[in-house]
Amino acid sequence: MKNQRAIVKKEQPNTPKVAVLKSTEKRNDLWSTLLVEVGSTQDRRAFAQLFEHFAPLLKSFAQASRQDGWFPGLAEDLVQEVMIKVWQKAGGYDPRKASATTWIYTVARNCRIDMLRRKCNTQHLPLENEDFWHEPDEETPVSLFRQKKTEEQVRKSLGQLPREQDEILRKVYLEGKSHAEASNELGLPLGTVKSRVRLGLQKLQILVSPEFREELIND
């Protein structure tokens, strides 16, 4: 296998696969800069600016939820909980690995799941959702975070997705539906749901195929 790959490389010296993945974005967008400031100097003005921008989006994200356990005050509670966590955890934010938008989204996703679970579960839950994302990213080589498109481009491509792919990604990420639940609701076979998700992700050029993931590690 290794030999084969070496031969391919020799024959096509000008088209190494990794070159496609050129973007390890420099995060110099306003939000990422502000988040770094909050983390390094507990800058309150920077935090207020982040709040002004993200709180309304977080509220919208909370209201999009169609999961079990949804309750009327969820949106306001989520905004508070997430923004407090942002203040607490900003010191651990690494702008080389994620934009502020993505980082804050992951905090919100984890909070939302925990709040909903607490509401609709009577069993003692030994794990919080954050525990699932505990694995230290410090050990992940930055080269692996390269991608084909910058976040700005991902956002633009989202606006150009065919309606049915856009619909399914929204169901999964915003409403919080599993593939199986989405298939039930839309009256589509599970296979169709899965392939629409995949097609959507391919259009966004999010996925990196396993063959050159390996090369990125050794990069």
């Binding site: 508070q80 955890k89 992940t140």
Partner: protein, 221 residues
């Protein structure tokens, strides 16, 4: 850790994990794989952008000023505790959430002998869709050939084992569907510990203990 692994969760599972819609037991297995697999960690990080960008382009909802004041008040009053960095405990090299399941449990999991070469310790995970457990195969141990009644996920946490199809090393993520018959064997050079989540057989009894009509479609919430 940056091992290069051969057996990964499917893209669909990583998507559901990234969106937070994967059930608890399966998420425990995926998270354990991520502990060992840097490339899947980065894949999930890329997938997180989809949710993030969808959130970023959604229409903002007005947030009352009082919420900001409330947040600042909580921060000022010190209701907000600085996150405490606890000393790491548990088995070195194990995913943190597995160590948490082992050590924070109300009752410590107990190893029970299944056969001459295999032991099992059940983990309490607060869900009943899957039975989550650790399996230990002693060095060179053989296990009985078996079929699966439901889907089973396995992640190697320590050592390695093999079956008719392949050799599986630390971090490898294996899916078995009903009808997949296999016979795992522990590696000769040391014991092997695996995490597994096995789909529980559907219970056809109501909370009161009556048998439900098996023809009735049950849709667990």
């Amino acid at each position: 850790m940056t091992n290069v692994l051969n057996h990964h969760p499917s893209i669909e599972m990583l998507v559901e994990f990234s969106a937070g819609t994967l059930d608890t037991a399966t998420s425990i297995c995926v998270a354990s794989h991520l502990h060992f697999c840097a490339s899947c960690r980065a894949e999930v990080a890329r997938l997180d952008q989809v949710g993030a960008q969808l959130m970023a382009i959604s229409s903002p909802e007005r947030v009352d000023d009082s919420i900001f004041e409330e947040v600042m008040r909580k921060i000022d009053e010190g209701h907000v505790e600085e996150p405490v960095i606890e000393p790491k405990k548990g088995i070195q090299g194990f995913p943190e959430l597995i160590n948490k399941l082992i050590h924070d449990a109300a009752e410590m999991p107990i190893w029970k002998r299944l056969s001459k070469s295999m032991e099992v310790a059940k983990l309490f995970t607060g869900q009943s869709k899957y039975e989550v457990a650790l399996h230990k195969i002693c060095a060179g141990g053989t296990t009985p050939q078996h079929d699966h009644r439901g889907t089973e996920y396995t992640v190697v946490l320590k050592g390695s084992f093999s079956d008719e199809k392949s050799v599986y090393t630390e971090g490898d993520f294996i899916v078995r569907e009903p009808g997949d018959v296999h016979q795992p064997m522990g590696a000769k050079n040391g014991e092997c510990i695996c995490l597994s989540a096995q789909e529980a057989p559907i219970k056809l009894t109501s909370p009161l203990g009556f048998f439900l009509n098996p023809w009735l479609r049950v849709n667990p919430a």
